[in-house]
Amino acid sequence: MINGRARAFLRLLTVQGAWSFERMTGVGIGYAAEPLLEDLKSADPGRHAEAAVRSAEYFNSHPYLAGLALGALVRAEYDFVPGPQVARLRAALCSPLGALGDQLFWIGLVPAMMAMAIVGVVAGLGLWSLIAVVAVYNVVRLWTGMWALNTGLATGTRVGAAIGASWLPVAAGRAGLAAGGLIGLALPLSADWLLDGGSSRGVMLAVLTILGGLGLGWRLGPRITSVRFGLMAIGLAATLAWGLG
């Protein structure tokens, strides 16, 4: 049984706190690893010193799933897995944990939950829909973080197989479908809610802007971000509104 889980979990909530281009979340992982490696200090001071150096080296993954890597790496240190193999495990976990976490959370659950919140607001549930969404999301987020840390600590170098057999890949696929459906639902409802009571000229202008935005996006691809397009279109409209005054 490895001690220090609670402190490590709390520290994982700030795993991106010292994010840098050089080590990405490496320092955050090192900071979270420190309480878990505490017992190794008395058992084998030499190994502890090596593990402490390795723990803060370059690492990047989805922040919610970083516990899987942290737990597995710490367990590997306690199992006296050779140092170069621990380093290889660390490097090997970056991409899959990043891709899986992005699919499940950033492209799946987050847009799905926010679209659900929009639908709730538009349906007249107001702040209650938001409170419910934030509460449910944070329960999922915290539970995932704890599950990740415990799974990593339990499996060590077998963490890859544990991830593959876990609920994560299935949930990532389903969250993506839910996000697609809920965003689709939220789009017309939010437009209707925001334009409600507006003049027909305003509705026409909004429709033209939607078509223009989609057309520009299709022509220019990622070069025209939503923020750039928004700044351009609204900036032009505001300038015209002032000028006409």
Binding site: N138, L185, A186, G202
Partner: protein, 225 residues
């Protein structure tokens, strides 16, 4: 325009700063999302309607954003809080477009400020190279604390300056019916942003079918309402 009481300003500053921290450094529990940040600001201002209108519109822009690792992405929280101050107490149909313009500009600046913070964190690594090479736990803890403190200061500055600008604009802005058209353009731009992002994420597989089904149901509900 009635000035805001100091306690309200303090609350807004704390909320905007928390929203900024939640984006990357702390928890990442949806508090930096425009809808959540704006609703909180609306509550603090005793104007939940303003918060929800600003929040829903800016959330449409944010649905297009993928906050992945090294990429530069907008930081909506602090600017959204300031945008709610701009809309609060006005006719939202006239002020929402300008508030959106303000929030988008501030979100872009917030994105740049994150890059500067990350570069500063990198310089901290270089200064502490010896401690890191020795596996010194104190060095790692100090770097982590400095990074968090840097993000706290970044978020606080973005929120404070954003609020000051919003209050200044609120005092001097003369809103007329013409600005309803600016709001209409902002709504169109938000819907285009969310739709464009949704189509890109959907690809050509099952997610696209779910997206189309959602749009059809949404249109039906909107027509029947």
């Amino acid at each position: 325009m009635i000035p805001l009481p100091p306690a309200m300003l303090l609350g807004l500053t704390a909320w905007g700063t928390f929203a900024g921290l939640d984006l990357v450094s702390l928890l990442q529990g949806l508090f930096s999302r425009p809808l959540v940040a704006a609703a909180g600001a609306g509550l603090l201002l005793n104007d939940p309607e303003a918060g929800l209108r600003v929040g829903v519109l800016l959330e449409l822009f944010a649905l297009d954003v993928l906050p992945v690792g090294a990429a530069r992405y907008p930081d909506y929280g602090p600017g959204v809080v300031a945008a709610v101050v701009l809309v609060s107490g006005t006719s939202w149909s006239q002020s929402l477009g300008l508030a959106t313009l303000f929030a988008l500009g501030w979100a872009a600046l917030g994105g740049w400020s994150l890059q500067w913070l990350r570069q500063a964190n990198g310089r901290g690594l270089a200064r502490n190279a010896a401690g890191l090479a020795a596996g010194d736990a104190g060095t790692v803890a100090r770097l982590q604390r400095e990074g968090l403190l840097g993000d706290l200061i970044r978020s606080l500055l973005l929120t404070t300056i954003g609020l000051a600008l919003a209050l200044l604009l609120r005092r001097h802005l003369v809103l007329t019916a013409r600005f309803e058209l600016v709001t209409a353009v902002a709504i169109g731009a938000g819907v285009a942003a969310a739709a464009g992002g949704a189509i890109r994420s959907a690809g050509r597989g099952a997610r696209l079918r779910w997206l189309l089904a959602g749009v059809m149901v949404g249109l039906l509900v909107a027509v029947l309402r």
